[in-house]
């Protein structure tokens, strides 16, 4: 945690000094991000949705959302977008209290979320900066075809890389990219090891609430960098030690008492009441042994690794392979497999009001997963960063009912 905090602080410090250092920022999104490629041009990545969720955890997003609604964004618009726009309108002060630089480029590397496209359309108007778009085809048949890979790789070569060269004023350095991708793969190995540790009983980690901290470095600005590799090596060792000691996960209230229910969770968490939400689980002895949200930045446990020998192809596969680019049957298979592999008692769907990428089809998925695994699903509703959509009593009621149902069935 300390290591991660330091990494984030350094990065935001660097971002706040761009007017002195002359460094340039590239705004991009977490799913299908081209982090290594951006760094290979010495450009600084900024992730607006991470800023939004960080603002929510610091209780600032409510005001930002209202600010965006004031200028005409509807109540139904994705609240990540509104938080970002509101933050920008209020001086673009990032979650660490430092000013964020304006983007020199908006790099849209995943189009599976239509909102991302609209989001950058809005930012383009605000910042009057160029946008480069990588069109990523949807995995409608549940697989990546050679044509899809070729199509994305070609765009990388013909559109994205030339644009990054133009913005940075630097020539594309393939060897530098390869070195970073090799480093990414090592971090990815360690992360998969950490996820798999949750197969132990008790699970040493909470793969959802704790998991969002574990994905911090690899999903954001650090994948491919030495400090990221160092972080995952340390995390892996810590988790291994917890397994050896037979320890359960750490919660905000300290050690978890007893692992009563093992769950797989589908959908992002609520960020505005993150701790309260987490407590509703750990207070009842519920541990999340796997979650789909912690895969939005890569489904590494299925074998994907960034590959220095096939650099652009692996970047293409990464963009094509992100969780929300999978069709519903694939998502059902992923969750059903996890329920079996991680010996989960059931699964919970947190349906996010303003995120269609995740929420569309979740009820159908639930039924399928129940059929496949024979385990019951619980269904709750909240939102990403709009505090008005978190109804604590209602969510607690549903979760408690769900846990009691699992208990009664066992």
């Amino acid at each position: 945690m300390i290591m991660q905090k330091k990494m984030i602080a350094n990065h935001f410090e660097r971002l706040s000094n761009t007017d002195k250092t002359g460094e340039k920022a590239v705004y991009t999104f977490v799913p299908g991000n081209l982090n290594e490629l951006i760094w290979s041009f010495d450009l600084l990545p900024v992730h607006p949705e991470i800023n939004a969720l960080q603002s929510a955890m610091r209780k600032q997003s409510g005001d930002y959302v209202l600010e965006a609604e004031k200028i005409g964004h509807s109540e139904d618009v994705c609240t990540y977008v509104k938080s970002d726009i509101g933050m920008m309108r209020k001086g673009n002060i990032g979650p660490t209290g430092q000013r964020l630089p304006e983007p020199s480029l908006l790099l849209l590397s995943y189009t599976g979320c239509f909102t991302f496209m609209k989001w950058f359309e809005l930012l383009k108007q605000e910042y009057k900066c160029p946008v480069v778009m990588l069109h990523v085809p949807y995995q409608a048949d549940g697989r990546i075809t050679p044509e899809m890979r070729f199509y994305v790789t070609k765009q990388l070569k013909d559109v994205v890389i030339p644009k990054l060269e133009e913005i940075s004023g630097k020539k594309f350095d393939l060897d530098r990219l390869r070195t970073m991708l090799a480093s990414s793969a090592r971090s990815e190995d360690d992360l998969v090891h950490v996820w798999n540790a949750a197969k132990n009983k008790p699970s040493p980690i909470d793969a959802y609430f704790g998991g969002v901290y574990y994905i911090g470095p690899i999903f954001t600005a650090f994948r491919g960098k030495p400090e990221c590799e160092e972080y995952y090596k340390t995390l892996r060792a810590e988790v291994d030690q917890r397994v050896k000691d037979g320890l359960g996960p750490i919660t905000p209230d300290g050690k978890m008492h007893k692992e009563k229910y093992r769950l797989v969770v589908e959908g992002p968490p609520n960020w505005t009441s993150f701790r309260e939400f987490w407590e509703m689980f750990y207070a009842e002895g519920a541990v999340c042994v796997s979650s789909t949200y912690t895969r939005v930045g890569g489904l590494y446990e299925q074998g994907f690794r960034h590959d220095p020998d096939h650099p652009l192809e692996s970047l293409a596969d990464y963009c094509l392979g992100c969780y929300t680019n999978r069709n519903l049957p694939s998502r059902v298979d992923i969750i059903a497999k996890d329920i079996i592999d991680f010996q989960a008692d059931g699964f919970v769907v947190n349906s996010i009001k303003s995120c269609n990428s995740f929420s569309a089809g979740q009820l159908l998925m639930m039924k399928e997963i129940e059929k496949k695994t024979g385990r019951s699903g619980g269904f709750i509703e909240s939102d990403l960063v709009d505090p008005r959509y978190f109804s604590a009593a209602n969510i607690k009621n549903r979760l408690e009912s769900y846990f009691q149902m699992l208990e009664a069935k066992s």
């Binding site: 509703e381 109804s391 209602n394 009621n397 549903r398 009912s401 009691q404 149902m405 069935k409």
Partner: protein, 464 residues
């Protein structure tokens, strides 16, 4: 006698149920939830205990009085008991109102208000006697409702055109009723039932059964309930004075309660004051899936309450009025606020009230249908519970929509459906009895709240 207690603390009413060792329901209690959940919970429990004693009394009398006679005797005993209880509460109300008038800020208002207050109170006492007899039209079981309606009516009559006086009288009542209804008056079963027995024995048709009544009453009073375990549920369950282990989600309780009432139930729909639950259960009454409304309570019981206010009619009049509809108007909104606006708009356009109400009931049920579909559909037998299940317009709309969407189906609606959650809780209380809950301190529940109001039953007897 061993008893297992289930308490369902709902947003509108609090219900309690006593269950015996052989899974037989002994008694039900219900009270309005008011702002004090602890008191609501205690009063409901006490009401259930009284009701259980009446079950015992009925059994006792049945052995002594042949034919239908015992039923009538119990009915009279019950009504006289209620009269004693009501009179005790009236006495308390009178004392509290007098104190409130003494504290009126303007000194010269006090004497004239006292004068009218005494006239009102005295007429209320007289009216009360007529309210409690078998077959009387019970406007409500709750003292608050009965007293409020009489007080308001008498105040209007006495104050005439003096609207300021009317305000003072109503203000006095509002302040006082809160204190009175928050006190327990139910821990004097022996005293009230003796009053009732004395009154009933004097009635010509029961004079021959004098000895039987006395014996039955004596035996009933002697019963000591030993509460083995209590489980709480409902919207306000976190506020129940129980340890966490004695609290169950109302979804589980409704499932088990519906299974108890109709063992072949597989799908349960509960529409309560502020939530709607669609529940699937297995052959043993255990929940296998459920869906409920999110934080918006649109389309729940409160929605009907709001509409009733909007139309300036009583909640219980909504259903019967909707049943008179000849043409159904489509109401688009189940959002309480929007529906109110839509209602006013359509009234302005000349639509009939009954037609709009029929549309509103259908709108509520459509919303419930969506939750049912999400929970896994409707599987026979289907049981409808909750306060809204008492509304015939709602049940008719439901039957129609269920048939349209799922075909013919056995639909169960019990007149006691409001107690479904409490029954489920009592059954859980019994199931858990062998767990580690025995010995848990239940004193918080069992300790009666001392009544500070003096109100000798002797006075009631004289008047009766």
């Amino acid at each position: 006698m061993d008893a297992y207690v289930g308490i369902d603390l709902g947003s509108t009413t609090t219900k309690a149920v006593f269950l015996d060792e052989h899974d037989r329901l002994m008694g039900f209690g219900i009270t309005n939830s008011r702002s004090d959940y602890d008191v609501a919970c205690q009063i409901a429990r006490e009401e259930a205990e009284i009701n259980s004693r009446f079950s015992i009394l009925r059994r006792e009398l049945k052995t002594h009085i042949p034919g239908e006679g015992h039923d009538l005797a119990v009915a009279w005993l019950y009504q006289k008991y209620r009269l004693a209880q009501h009179t005790r509460q009236l006495t308390a109300l009178a004392a509290t109102c007098r104190k409130a008038v003494d504290l009126l800020p303007v000194a010269e208002h006090r004497a004239p208000t006292h004068l009218l207050l005494e006239q009102i109170l005295s007429e209320m006492e007289v009216e009360a006697v007529g309210l409690f007899k078998p077959g009387a039209d019970a406007r409500s079981d709750f003292f608050r409702d009965i007293a409020a309606s009489t007080f308001l009516h008498l105040s209007e009559k006495k104050a005439g055109d003096d609207s300021k006086m009317l305000d003072r009288l109503i203000g006095t009542f509002d302040k006082s009723i809160l204190q009175v209804e928050s006190k327990s008056y139910a821990n004097a079963f022996g005293e009230y039932i003796q009053f009732a027995a004395d009154a009933v024995q004097r009635m010509p048709e029961f004079q021959v059964h004098q000895a039987a009544i006395q014996t039955a009453v004596k035996n009933t009073v002697a019963v000591v309930f030993k509460i083995i375990n209590t489980i709480g549920t409902g919207y306000g369950r976190q506020r129940l004075p129980f340890p966490k282990e004695q609290i169950r989600s109302e979804i589980l309780c409704h499932g088990l309660g519906a299974h108890f009432m109709f063992p072949n139930t597989r799908t349960v729909l509960d529409i309560g004051g502020q939530d709607t639950k669609a529940i699937q259960i297995d052959a043993t009454g255990i929940v296998t899936n459920f869906q409920m409304n999110d934080r918006c309570a649109a389309g729940c019981g409160r929605y009907l309450g709001y509409i009733a206010d909007e139309m300036n009619i009583g909640l219980h009049e909504l259903g019967p009025l909707a049943m008179k509809s000849k043409k159904q108007v489509k109401i688009n909104s189940t959002c309480t606020v929007f529906a109110g606006a839509e209602l006013r708009e359509r009234l302005a356009l000349g639509e009939a009230r009954e037609d709009m109400l029929a549309g509103l009931h259908r709108a509520i049920i459509l919303r419930a249908m969506s939750l049912l579909a999400r929970s896994g559909g409707v599987v026979s037998e289907f049981t409808f519970t909750g306060g809204v299940a008492k509304n015939q317009a709602a049940t008719d709309a439901l039957r129609k929509l269920i048939e349209e969407n799922y075909g013919e189906m056995k639909i169960n609606i019990s007149p006691d459906s409001i107690f479904t959650g409490a029954i489920g809780a009592a059954l859980f209380a019994k199931r858990d009895r062998k767990g580690d809950l025995i010995g848990v301190d239940l004193k918080a529940l069992q300790k009666p709240v001392p009544s500070k109001v003096e109100g000798p039953v002797a006075k009631v007897q004289e008047r009766a």
